[in-house]
C-alpha cells in the first residue's frame, strides 16, 4: 500500500470520527470538519464546473474564434448567462428576464410533449389496465384503482369534504398514510445503509490496513 493511500485512509478515518463526534455533542473539532467539508466541496464543485462546462463550452470556443468564425455564436449564450448574473445589480436586473424567458420557454416546449407522452399517458394507461388474467392480478388492479380514485378525490378541494366525498377522501388518506409509511421505512433503511458503509470503511479499509486485511 502506497504512502499516499495510507495518509488518505488516516485522513478519511480521522474526519469520520470528527464528524461522528457531533453525536455526543457539538464541539470545535466537528465545526472544523464541517467547515473543511464545505470548503473542499465548494472548491471541488468549482473546478468540476469550470473544466467540464465553462472552459469547453465558453472559453475554449472564444480562444478558437480565429480558426472557426462559427465559434462567435457562443457569445449569445455567454451574454444571456451574464444577464442572469446581473440580477445582483438592481438597476440592470431586468435584463435577466430575457435569459429566463428563453430558458423557461424553451424548456417548457421540450418538457410538455415529452412528459405527456413519456410519463403521464403511460402512467394513466397502466392504472386502467383491463382486469385479469388471474385473481391475484385482479385484486392488485382493483386496490390500485381504488387507491388512485380515492387519493385524487382527497386532493379535490372544489367540493367540501363531507358525506360521500368525505368518506372517499378518508380512504384516500389511508392510502397516503401507507405510502408515507413505506417511504419512511425505506428512508430508515437508507440511513442505516450509509452508517453501515462508513463503519465498513473504518473496519475493513482503515483498521484492516493496519492489521494487513485491508482492501
Amino acid at each position: 500500500m502506497s504512502v499516499g493511500t495510507i495518509i488518505g485512509l488516516w485522513l478519511a478515518a480521522g474526519l469520520t470520527i470528527i464528524i461522528f463526534s457531533f453525536i455526543y455533542k457539538d464541539n470545535p473539532l466537528y465545526k472544523f470538519g464541517e467547515h473543511l467539508f464545505l470548503g473542499v466541496s465548494l472548491g471541488y464543485g468549482w473546478c468540476i464546473y469550470y473544466y467540464n462546462d465553462i472552459f469547453p463550452n465558453a472559453i475554449k470556443p472564444l480562444q478558437e474564434i480565429s480558426q472557426d468564425s462559427k465559434n462567435a455564436l457562443v457569445l449569445i449564450p455567454i451574454i444571456l448567462g451574464l444577464f442572469i448574473i446581473l440580477r445582483v445589480v438592481p438597476s440592470l436586473a431586468w435584463l435577466s428576464r430575457f435569459s429566463f424567458a428563453l430558458y423557461i420557454g424553451g424548456f417548457a416546449g421540450l418538457a410538455v410533449p415529452n412528459v405527456i407522452s413519456g410519463v403521464f399517458l403511460p402512467q394513466l394507461t397502466s392504472t386502467i389496465n383491463p382486469l385479469g388474467p388471474d385473481w391475484p392480478s385482479i385484486i392488485k388492479q382493483v386496490v390500485l384503482l381504488v387507491g388512485v380514485f380515492c387519493t385524487v378525490v382527497f386532493f379535490f378541494f372544489s367540493w367540501e369534504h363531507r358525506g360521500a366525498v368525505g368518506k372517499i377522501g378518508r380512504v384516500g388518506i389511508l392510502y397516503i398514510m401507507v405510502a408515507f409509511g413505506a417511504s419512511f421505512g425505506y428512508t430508515v433503511m437508507a440511513r442505516v445503509s450509509l452508517l453501515i458503509g462508513r463503519i465498513q470503511f473504518m473496519l475493513h479499509d482503515w483498521i484492516g490496513s493496519m492489521t494487513g486485511g485491508g482492501g
Binding site: I23, Y44, S126, M189, I199
Partner: protein, 302 residues
C-alpha cells in the same frame, strides 16, 4: 406521583426519557457486531431486481449498454456495489458499457469503479477481462452538466454531446462511437442514481428513443419509483443496499471477488438494526400508551 412509582413505572419513564446517545450506541453496536462476526442471514432476490438482471443477461454479446452513474460518495454504500456488479456482468457477457455521469461528484467514483473492475484478477493472477480496449469495448465519457439537455443531446449524437471522453481523448476517433452514434443505437440504459434523474431518463431518453431502462436508486427514492416499474417504464428496479446485495448475489460477486461483496456484507447489520428499530418502536409505544393511562387514572383520583 414520583414517590409512589412502581418498578414498572420507573422502567417505563426511564425508557420514555432515554438519552438519545444510548440509542446511538445501541445502533452502533448493532451495525458493528455483525460486520465483525457475520451471521450470514439469508435473503432472496426480488422480482424487480431479477427483471433487471435478466434483461442484461438476455442482451446479445457486443450490445452497447449506457450506464449513467448519477451518484456521489454520499450514497456510495447503496449504489456503488450495484455499479461494480453491473460492470462485471457487462464484461463477462461481452457487452460494451458506455458510462457517463450527470452529477458533479460522480466522475471520480465512476472512474475508480471502472478501473477496479478492469484490473480484477482471477485466483491464478491473470486478468479477469483481458484484451479490453477503451473506445472499442467500453468508454467512460465523464461528467457533463445539463441533465435533461445531455439526455436530449445523446439522442442526437454521442460525439457532439461528449466531444471528448473523461481522459480528454476525442470520441470522434473511437470505433465504438462510429458504430453506435446516438442513444437510440444503445440496447439498454441503466441509471444508477442517488438523485432524481431516473424520472427524467424516462421521458427524455427511454420513451423518446425506445430504449429499455432499468434503475438502481437509493432506498429513499425506491418507494416513489415503484409506479414506473409497475407501468413497465422501468424494466427493473434495484432499491438501496438491499437491491444491490440481491444483484451481487445474481451476478455471483462472491465468487468473482473471493470474499463477501460489500452490499451483501452489510445485510446482516441492516437486518439487526431493523430488529432493534422495530423493538424500540413497539416498546416505546407500549410504554407511551401505558403511561398515558397511568397519568389519566392519577389525574382522575386527584
Amino acid at each position: 406521583m414520583a414517590e409512589q412509582q412502581t418498578p414498572l413505572q420507573k422502567m417505563a419513564y426511564a425508557i420514555l426519557n432515554l438519552d438519545r446517545r444510548i440509542i446511538f450506541t445501541l445502533v452502533f453496536l448493532c451495525v458493528t457486531a455483525p460486520l465483525i462476526w457475520p451471521i450470514g442471514m439469508d435473503f432472496t432476490p426480488t422480482k424487480e431486481v431479477i427483471d433487471a438482471f435478466d434483461d442484461i443477461e438476455a442482451l446479445e454479446s457486443g450490445s452497447v449498454v449506457l450506464i449513467s452513474a448519477d451518484y456521489g460518495p454520499s450514497s456510495m454504500p447503496e449504489t456503488h456495489p450495484m455499479y461494480l456488479a453491473l460492470l462485471h456482468q457487462c464484461f463477462r457477457r461481452g457487452l460494451r458499457p458506455v458510462i457517463l455521469t450527470l452529477v458533479p461528484s460522480g466522475p471520480g467514483l465512476a472512474n475508480r469503479g471502472l478501473l477496479d473492475v478492469l484490473e480484477s484478477e482471477n485466483p491464478d493472477g491473470s486478468l479477469m477481462y483481458p484484451g479490453l480496449t477503451e473506445g472499442v469495448d467500453y468508454a467512460f465519457l465523464g461528467y457533463k452538466p445539463g441533465g435533461t439537455a445531455v439526455m436530449l443531446g445523446l439522442g442526437q449524437s454521442f460525439i457532439t454531446t461528449f466531444p471528448n471522453d473523461y481522459d480528454g481523448d476525442a470520441t470522434s476517433k473511437m470505433p465504438l462511437f462510429r458504430e453506435v452514434s446516438r442513444l437510440g443505437d444503445c440496447k439498454y440504459i441503466f441509471d444508477i442514481a442517488s438523485v432524481g434523474y431516473p424520472e427524467f431518463w424516462v421521458p427524455y431518453a427511454a420513451e423518446r428513443e425506445n430504449v429499455p431502462l432499468s434503475v438502481c436508486c437509493t432506498a429513499v427514492s425506491a418507494a416513489q419509483y415503484y409506479p414506473y416499474y409497475q407501468a413497465g417504464q422501468f424494466k427493473g428496479l434495484v432499491g438501496g443496499m438491499k437491491g444491490s446485495a440481491e444483484y451481487e448475489q445474481l451476478v455471483g460477486m462472491e465468487e468473482i471477488l473471493g470474499k463477501i461483496p460489500p452490499a451483501t456484507n452489510g445485510m446482516d447489520a441492516q437486518s439487526v438494526v431493523h430488529i432493534l428499530i422495530v423493538l424500540a418502536i413497539i416498546v416505546a409505544n407500549f410504554f407511551f400508551f401505558v403511561s398515558r393511562r397511568w397519568e389519566a387514572s392519577e389525574g382522575g383520583r386527584a
